[in-house]
């Protein structure tokens, strides 16, 4: 626990962590013995606390009451401005999301892993792996996740996985980006290409497409040939109207190749009545059409752009993404703590519950969890404190464009006080005080618990 409590996460962390330390020496000085000796022993601790804790806290509070230059006393003006600043409001909102989601998620996962690793062989190895992220610096973890969530599937692991899974279930389109040579004869509508002319049996439909490099054609694509009409069916050909040999646009020949595997639909009164697929030379035919007139449609699925994954680091997903990184890092901590609590539960009580007729789930729900609840609470509150101070991950993972959307109080504080275009120490101090006040209740709660346990 001490690593988490005292690790310096953001400028306010020192102040918040300090309250835990001052709690201990209080009330410990005995009345016996010489006061002078007692003072001597206390001196180093008092000096350190005064210099590194008390003074900065008092100074920060004082500084927040002056203006940017530090010359004029402005009272609570900084606080008023702080709460009307839209950036701070976003930061506050994100902090609320963090506090609501992250600690509960991590406590839950920690509980699950603690229970599971208790029941398996090689438990120590599993625990070690789960705990490992705690040993990595937050900045390094942030960089790892920045890479994981890169948008380009060839760079980012998350999107590479997403694309692989997506394409395994939904086959990617064959000719992304292809369009009609003549946009008036073949009209694009929601990605579908539909003929304006009507056709019936005995007609030949010629559909030249462009917008695709000939190299992208599948290997089996054969040179397209013009077809003779046959009164028994409606037939046609789809070809890529681009060729090295040239030839006038919209005509066949000159080595132009057909586009195999294109889905073709025959529509009557706007309803699909028949569907077929082009052959290697791009030809297709509807042999069993009833007499009448049809329009021919090449549905959008032929030309859809390939799935490229999600924009993880965009405004919408950036906060969940950073939370996921934090979960990855912190779950090991929660698991270790809860695991320790778990091993302290009397085995007998669990066995008694089993003999009393409880299923494993009921034992867990009705005995294990209630007995663990003090530990769960301490873990949860400790995580809340940590979440309030989260800084590095947001700073590293959120790209500059999304940083405003991922903003949290500690980051906002840093940006205002030290960041580009900032340098407003007064506002920074005000933010630090606000953050400090948010952490205090959770801190006090934990300290009181520790005290009660020690008694």
């Amino acid at each position: 626990m001490s690593t988490l409590l005292t690790s310096d996460q953001g400028p306010a962390a020192g102040a918040a962590g300090g309250t835990a330390r001052t709690g201990r020496p209080k009330g410990r000085t005995g009345t016996r013995g010489s006061l002078r000796v007692a003072a001597l022993y206390l001196l180093p601790a008092v000096a350190l606390i005064a210099i590194y804790l008390a003074y900065p806290v008092v100074y920060s509070i004082g500084r927040s009451l002056f203006d940017r230059s530090g010359a004029t006393f402005v009272g609570l003006h900084n606080y008023a401005e702080l709460f009307t600043d839209p950036r701070t409001q976003v930061a506050l909102r994100n902090n609320v999301i963090w506090v609501l989601v992250a600690p509960a998620l991590v406590t839950g996962l920690g509980l699950i892993f603690a229970v599971l690793t208790e029941k398996i062989r090689w438990a120590t190895a599993f625990r070690l792996v789960l705990f490992m992220p705690m040993a990595i610096s937050l900045f390094a973890s942030g960089i790892i996740f920045r890479l994981v969530y890169q948008e380009d599937p060839s760079l980012g692991l998350a999107n590479a996985a997403a694309v692989t899974v997506h394409d395994a279930f939904l086959e990617p389109s064959k000719y992304p980006g292809a369009r009609a040579r003549d946009a008036r004869a073949l009209v694009a509508d929601h990605g579908n290409l539909t003929t304006t002319a009507n056709y019936g049996r005995g007609d030949v439909v010629r559909l030249p497409l462009v917008g695709l490099s000939p190299q992208k054609l599948p290997r089996q694509a054969a040179p397209a040939q013009d077809l003779r009409p046959d009164p028994r069916d409606l037939r046609g050909v789809v070809w890529l109207d681009v060729a090295a040999g040239g030839g006038p646009p919209g005509t066949l020949g000159g080595g132009k190749r057909g586009m195999p595997g294109v889905t073709v639909q025959a529509l009557r009164d706007g309803h699909v009545t028949a569907t077929t697929t082009t052959g290697d030379d791009g030809s297709f035919a509807f042999p069993d059409l009833s007499p009448g007139t049809y329009t021919i449609r090449l549905p959008a699925s032929n030309f859809a752009q390939p799935f490229r994954g999600l924009t993880w680091l965009g405004p919408a997903l950036v906060t969940p993404v950073i939370i996921s990184a934090w979960v990855w890092i912190t779950t090991g901590f929660a698991m270790t703590f809860i695991g320790a609590g778990l091993s302290a539960i009397p085995r007998d009580a669990l066995e008694a519950a089993r003999v009393d007729g409880a299923t494993e789930w009921q034992v867990f729900r009705r005995v294990t969890v209630p007995l663990l609840s003090p530990v769960l609470l301490v873990v949860f509150v400790t995580l809340v404190i940590n979440v309030l101070k989260v800084f590095e991950l947001v700073f590293v993972i959120a790209p500059g464009s999304a940083q405003a959307d991922a903003n949290v109080l500690a980051l906002q504080l840093w940006q205002v006080a030290f960041g580009a275009g900032g340098g407003d120490q007064a506002m920074g101090s005000a933010l630090a005080v606000v953050l400090f006040l948010l952490v205090v209740p959770a801190m006090l709660f934990n300290i009181r618990r520790f005290r009660r346990e020690r008694r």
Binding site: D348, E351, A352, R354, V355
Partner: protein, 400 residues
Amino acid sequence: MSSVVLTGLGKVYGDGTRAVTDLNLEIRDGEFLVLVGPSGCGKTTALRMIAGLEEVSEGTIEIGDRVVNEVPSRDRDVAMVFQSYALYPHLNVFDNIAFGLSLRKLPKKEIERRVREVAGILELQDHLRRKPRHLSGGQRQRVAMGRAIVREPQAFLMDEPLSNLDAKLRVQMRAQIARIQRDLGVTTVYVTHDQTEAMTLGDRVAVLKRGILQQVGPPQELYDRPVNLFVAGFIGSPGMNVLGATLEVGDDERYRVRFCSQSLDLPDSVLRERPALRRYAGRPVVLGIRPEDMEDAEIVGAEQGATLRSSAELVEAMGSDVLVHFPVDTKPVTTDGVRELVSDGGVVDPGPLGAAGGTVLVGRFSPRTRVFEGQSIEVRVDTARLHFFDPETGSSIWHE
């Protein structure tokens, strides 16, 4: 309520340690059976196998007419009282007792009625809203009992339920357990290392040693007719005195046991009861004398051939009787098998321990005795109640 039958039951732990070997026991419907033995004898393991908390390595367990080897604990319908009581620390007394019933989704009113009834039996009515940590040891023990009783199970399993209580409370609770079991008539398997509990509680007592059943029978039978030195030593307190001796036949065809300078004549009743003893004529035997079969000759009168002479080394006045320690000259019992049996059983070691280089015997004398330490004494022995064991095997000498 139903019988519990163990057939060829065995337990081998993952590391190869064998805890129980070929245990065969039939616990009849409504019977109170006590499993007794020194710590590490496998009695708790056997109980936990019946409860379903340990996997069965060999053999079968039947509860009712159902083999339950593969039945999980929760479906065996047995109730267990743990040595540590194993109360649920986060639940109050009422909820502790009601836990098993609420798992069975009984109606609230029914639960309330049954818990209150059981709390009445155990005098816990005033503590129903308290948490276990605010209860005394005796109260916790009663809550643990209540949790078992309220479920009206097929069998009670009790694992040293009284060993965490002080001596006085233990006697009280012992009586209460006996009464409750008799009233409810629930089949009970009770594990203890305390032979007093075993003798007072059990309809029958099963003595275990190193995972092997030695003898099972009514308490008095175990006391009167132990099958070997181990049972003889384990049952009875203080333990039986054991000494190496030789069986002699005099010119008058009378049998007597001799240990060095002293000897005791065997009455005919002993030979009638133990015909196999004749085969040991002229050979060494292990002689067992219970402390309560000895008395100060000053009180009951000395008799030729039934009296030992010694001097009192230590006198312990217990109020109701006086324990007198006195040495006699004997050859020590040296056979390994016998030594092991004897030391496991906790009887007085027959080796050369006494100040006089012999064995120290303990006699339980009447409180009217005037014996004091250092005084030379005459001890009258009830020779009809002597015990004899084979020095090689440690088995009792009876018929064969």
